[in-house]
């Protein structure tokens, strides 16, 4: 009986994931209405719950893919993977306002470069403060503070050690998770309530998963604008970090 149950779920993992996510969202909306009077969005609660599940699953399985490492819930990995995520992000662009993009496009574009450099400098300063003096290590950790993809790409290009690369991934993961949780909390204070500021937000934050979840929990109408600029961030980071920014660090240290 239980064997039949688990083989049904594993053989139909994506369908099982639909049920799972629907239940998590239903629970979160209930919590939102019952305990916060709807002040905290159900989606914000669901995203936080997802992260908690991912943490617990990581502790128990020792894996790196959160709930997706549990066989019964492997469909969560497919549903939450880059393919479906990016497909749904593109779909949110349908009906977005072209004029906003034209008007705020340049500020959005420059925010990508400013965002990469800003996060990089913060990461590099922390690395130096923790006693790193090797320009390659400092650059890799700074790159990791941009996103967890820029870090390893830069580290590999420069020939950094695997321990430093692992640190850069951890810095990038911390950033992305914090953007997911923190965005709805600070949205009002930083004026994140219109398409133009969402463009700037996406460009400055840059982590596609962080921005995707952060805006979903704040105001889904802003998703296309933030996601648009965020998707350029990793590319720009991979371009700047191992080249210009590395030379800069080398010159300073």
């Amino acid at each position: 009986m239980s064997e039949a149950f688990s083989s049904t779920l594993t053989a139909n993992s994506l369908i099982a994931a639909f049920v799972f996510v629907g239940l998590v969202l239903a629970l979160s909306n209930w919590i939102s209405n019952k305990f916060t009077n709807g002040r905290i969005h159900g989606s914000a609660i669901a995203i936080s719950l997802g992260l908690v599940f991912a943490y617990v699953a990581g502790v128990f399985t020792g894996g790196t893919r959160g709930l997706a490492d549990i066989a019964l819930l492997s469909g969560v990995g497919l549903l939450g993977g880059a393919m479906f995520r990016d497909f749904a992000i593109v779909a949110t662009a349908y009906g977005a306002d072209l004029n906003t993009l034209k008007r705020a496009g340049w500020v959005g574009a420059s925010s990508v470069i400013i965002g990469v450099v800003l996060s990089f400098i913060v990461g590099a300063v922390i690395a130096v403060a923790f006693g790193y003096t090797d320009p390659i290590a400092v650059t890799t950790i700074g790159a990791g503070a941009s996103t967890y993809i820029v870090g390893p790409v830069t580290g590999t290009a420069l020939g950094a050690g695997s321990d430093v690369i692992a640190l850069s991934v951890a810095a990038g993961l911390t950033k992305s998770i914090l953007v997911m949780i923190g965005t709805p909390l600070v949205a009002r204070r930083i004026g994140l309530n219109n398409p133009s500021s969402a463009l700037v937000y996406g460009g400055l934050m840059g982590t596609t998963s962080g921005v995707a979840a952060g805006l979903a929990a704040t105001d889904p109408k802003l998703v296309p604008y933030g996601a648009m600029t965020a998707t350029f961030y990793t590319g720009v980071g991979c371009l700047l970090a191992p080249s210009v920014l590395y030379l800069l660090i080398e010159a300073i240290l």
Binding site: G50, A54, T64, G80, G95, L118, L173, M228
Partner: protein, 121 residues
């Protein structure tokens, strides 16, 4: 037909991601440069061309809007598959670097957003 909408969306996605891949190779880096953003631009431009040449029937539109509505559930699944233990196992330096990078970036938003407001007036 619903599938026409899904096809349109999927075609925009593939064209954009392919362009981002080419752009990455052109720049000599091992990353997709803005592929998803290019796909979004394509879809935005198409959906803003509301005239006789390009007009989706309501049924076709649901092929796109369904996936747009699936966005939040997909993001929740994405959160549930994050490497949270990996983030916390990097030690204080990694956590501090990530946290301060986010704080600095948040603080920068009102500063840059002001430039878009100036142009609004």
């Amino acid at each position: 037909m619903v599938i026409y909408g899904v096809t349109l969306l999927a075609a925009c996605y593939l064209v954009g991601v392919f362009a981002g891949e080419l752009l990455g190779r052109l720049l000599g880096i091992d990353a997709n440069v803005g592929g998803v953003g290019i796909a979004m631009l394509l879809l935005i431009i198409l959906s803003n061309l509301r005239d006789e040449r390009f007009h989706l029937k309501p049924m076709t539109e649901t092929g796109v809007t369904f996936w747009s509505a699936m966005y939040i559930p997909i993001v929740i699944a994405m959160a549930a598959k994050q490497n949270v233990t990996g983030a916390l196992s990097g030690g204080w330096m990694a956590i501090l670097a990530g946290t301060l990078a986010v704080t600095a970036s948040f603080a920068m938003i009102p500063v840059l957003a002001r430039f878009t407001e100036v142009r609004d007036e």
